[in-house]
Amino acid sequence: MSGGMPGPPPEERPTPDGRRNAQGIRVDPEVAAEPPVRRAVISVLVAHEPGVLSEVSGLFSRRQFNIESLTVGPTADPDRARITVVCEEPEPGVDQLKKQLRKLLPVVDVRELPDDAVRRELALIKVDADDPAEVRAVAEMYDGRTVDACPETVTVEVTGSRQKVGAAVETLGRFGVREVVRTGTTALARGTDTTTDQTSTEQTTNAREPTTEP
């Protein structure tokens, strides 16, 4: 009600020309465009101990990172497990996700896999067995195989890229899909690159993050 102060009102003050976008990056207001969403596969090496998965997944939900899939499993080292995360974020978001992951104590290593990394997903598709031979033929088109059959249903296993598995599920749909389970993406870099190399300086917890170009 009271407490007014002296000084020119807002409309009489000089205003700067510049703007920032929602990511806090300075942009030309005339051509301001939001950075495109990018899909990234992040391989996270963690200590194999209780509570780590919930710590990692809790981070994603509380910071509203957009996660498409998350898989977890043991590694060659019994003290380590690997979490493979596929996320979809505008550029600063992917970077932020990696940095936040590195702050978690049980996280040993965080690495984004290159685009050409080997990515695999597995699906089990249970369809009606009205025409088992036809189902098998379609499955073979996708290098799939029949893993279970009974008079009413046939279950097909398909492994491959997300796109391939998606296509297989779609094509098998014409037989009448009863149920589908998919694993989410797991991935590994090609060639001699490994993600378990803890001596890599760029990857260590709290390592300096290089400048991100806008």
């Binding site: 009102p9 209780p50 509570g51 919930s54 940095k99 590195r102 803890q198 709290n206 993050e209 400048t211």
Partner: protein, 648 residues
């Protein structure tokens, strides 16, 4: 049930797990990287307990601590190891509340050198410890039992997390074999606190308790400080740890606490980045230094002051950084943001180079991100790489300790930025948007006047704590802070009720730091005071010299202000209509009570309250209609701050 040996071994099928500690008693459980493993047998024990047919209804009666007869000379307990770890870490004070599951740890405190302050409520314990950390720079420690004790701490832990304050919480937990059974006073404390701690530990192994506590203590203060928590199941604290025959120490006997090896902190920024930032600063025509709470935490106030004054770069601060730069200096523009000064917000909006040190670009500082320092190249110094470009893009990221990096920058910046014109502009804004208020004689006492009177009546080293709301804003606006570690508040979380317990923690920290002469003043609001006023009993019991000034407008004033502007004046649930007489209430607690109704009572009442050796409370009846300005509405443009309701 009192020792690890009585715990059934883990189930056989968890092949990825190491041998159960119960059967692995002779070996130190270390992982290949040398870091002592966090306990990993929780699941196993839970399963074992279930297999053993222990009914959930069999509530964990407080077990007997092993009697002195049972504890032979060559044996220690997990609880003793926890306390030994605190002592080894130089902890002098602990704030807490007793309870069933934490009793063994309290028992171990019985013979310790640590002074325990019994608080009225666990929230008070956490806030007191938080303030202790702010004032001393060393982690404050709070303790509580399982279940409600632990959940009551959560507000204070979350507060420390938002403000990056060094804090360690020790919580009791039901014995491991009951965990997961919904036992009496069982809460999944590590689960509840994971989102609000820097790290937490479930210390189920008596052998590891001491190390876990030491690690938590070290982590809380390392790098970017923050709260850590160690959950202490009763069987682990009661559990016996054999001592080594050769040196009489247990494996859990902690030395100087150290963070885990995997935790790395970058101290200095890389030279190339520093050079690039320095060139930018030299070219700046409108440079501005923005100091955040990290400056005080890194003890970088001095180097920042020198940098700013030497190069003639005006300085704004965030709220946690108040005191990092003397507010009475020519180039001080004080606090920026929602209720920052008009000149600070003008400077932020129009600068061409923003040197941000130890700040996280909170929305209360930036307002709408689109209009935040829109013409500025940003140099961002922070010890936490994740803060770089989190909210505001950093053109020149400098990751490292604020003190070290500012020293690097000071060395590298060779030429003064040519900012004469800019300094004149800024000075013009300081005159144009002066922080003034009107105080007509025929109106109730203005709260700003009371804050100024308190400031005037106290020395520069006075420590000010606050609750959250209008009174907090008036305190930060009208008290002239010149030294770091004098402003103690709940910034990021905005936890009402922070002020009084914080004053208790601040008082003990000041005394421990040789600042016994520094007065501790809690500027509180009636709403905030009502939330934690039971802690007055602690201040009286412990004979703590603190002065509480309740700026009493019988409103949740900030909400009332927003309702008037944004909700058509519909004052739903913001008015109290009736408040207790706080001076009388203080007297009932055994504190000294005072009351102010008129301007002519202000100076002498404050004088008397400050002079009282012990806790005193002044119930100051202030103008209930006074609003806080300037104000940038939530998400608004900093440069378009409102100076009155008409501007909103």
């Amino acid at each position: 049930m009192t020792g690890p040996d009585s715990t059934p071994p883990g189930d056989a099928d968890s092949t990825a797990e190491p041998a159960d500690p119960a059967t692995d008693h002779g070996a130190t459980d270390e992982s290949p990287d040398g870091r002592t493993d966090r306990p990993r047998d929780r699941r196993q024990r839970r399963d074992a307990a279930t297999d053993g047919g222990i009914a959930a209804t069999e509530a964990p009666a407080p077990e007997e601590r092993p009697t002195d007869d049972a504890v032979a000379e060559d044996v220690s307990t997990g609880a003793e190891a926890a306390v030994a770890a605190l002592e080894a870490g130089g902890v002098e004070h602990v704030f807490g509340v007793q309870g069933g599951a934490i009793m063994p740890v309290y028992d171990a405190l019985y013979d310790a050198s640590i002074r325990h302050v019994t608080m009225a409520h666990e929230q008070g314990a956490a806030h007191a410890a938080d303030a202790y950390g702010i004032v001393s720079g060393r982690p404050g420690v709070c303790m509580a039992t399982s279940g409600p004790g632990a959940t009551n701490l959560v507000t204070g832990i979350a507060d420390a997390d938002m403000d990056s304050d060094p804090l360690v919480a020790l919580t009791g937990q039901v014995p491991t074999e009951f965990v997961g059974n919904d036992a009496f006073q069982e809460t999944d404390t590590t689960g509840v606190t994971t989102p609000v701690t820097k790290a937490n530990y479930f210390a189920s192994d008596p052998d590891a308790v001491g190390n876990d506590v030491g690690e938590a203590l070290a982590l809380a203060a390392s790098g970017r400080p923050g709260p850590t928590l160690v959950d202490l199941p009763k069987d682990a604290t009661n559990g016996e740890i054999p001592k080594d025959a050769t040196n009489g120490e247990t494996r859990s006997a902690p030395g100087e606490p150290e963070p885990p090896d995997s935790y790395e902190v970058t101290e200095t920024a890389d030279a190339e980045s520093v050079e690039a930032a320095a060139r930018r600063i030299e070219e700046a025509r409108k440079p501005l230094l923005l100091l955040g709470g990290g400056v005080i935490k890194a003890e970088a106030s001095e180097v920042c002051r020198e940098f700013a004054t030497e190069h003639g770069i005006p300085v704004v601060t965030t709220m946690p950084a108040v005191g990092a730069f003397p507010e009475d200096h020519d180039i001080a523009l004080e606090m920026a943001g929602m209720h920052g000064t008009g000149y600070a917000n003008m400077a932020v909006t129009h600068c061409d180079t923003l040197i941000a040190v130890g700040c996280r670009f909170d929305d209360r500082l930036t307002g709408g991100i689109e209009t935040f320092a829109p013409d500025a190249e940003v140099v961002h110094v922070d010890v936490d790489p994740a803060e770089i470009s989190k909210n505001v893009h950093a053109d020149y990221p400098l990751v490292g300790d604020a003190k070290a990096v500012m020293a690097q920058l000071a060395d590298e910046v060779k030429a003064f930025p040519r900012a004469e014109e800019w300094r004149e502009t800024v000075q013009g804004w300081k005159d144009e948007y002066a922080m003034t208020y009107v105080a007509p004689d025929d109106e109730p006492v203005k709260p700003q006047f009371v804050v100024e009177a308190l400031d005037e009546a106290t020395a520069d080293d006075a420590i000010v704590t606050t609750g959250v709301g209008q009174h907090q804003m008036w305190a930060v606006q009208y008290w002239t802070f010149t030294e770091p570690r004098c402003w103690v508040s709940s910034h990021g979380l905005g936890a009402m009720g922070y002020g009084l317990p914080a004053a208790i923690g601040a008082r003990l920290a000041a005394d421990a730091e040789g600042r016994d002469d520094a007065p501790v003043v809690c500027v509180d609001g009636d709403g905030s005071f009502l939330m934690t006023l039971q802690e007055l009993s602690v201040a009286v019991r412990e004979s703590l010299d603190i002065t509480v000034a309740v700026l009493n407008n019988e409103y949740i004033g900030m909400v009332r202000q927003w309702q008037d502007v944004f909700f058509d004046g519909r004052r739903m649930a913001s008015g109290y209509d009736w408040c207790p007489q706080f001076d009388v209430l203080a007297a009932a607690f055994g504190a000294e009570g005072f009351r102010i109704d008129d301007y002519d009572e202000v100076a002498e009442t404050i004088e008397a309250a400050l002079a009282h050796d012990g806790p005193s409370v002044i119930d100051v009846h202030v103008d209930p209609d006074e609003d806080v300005y300037p104000m940038v509405p939530s998400g608004g443009d900093n440069g378009q701050f409102a100076l009155s309701e008409d501007h909103l």
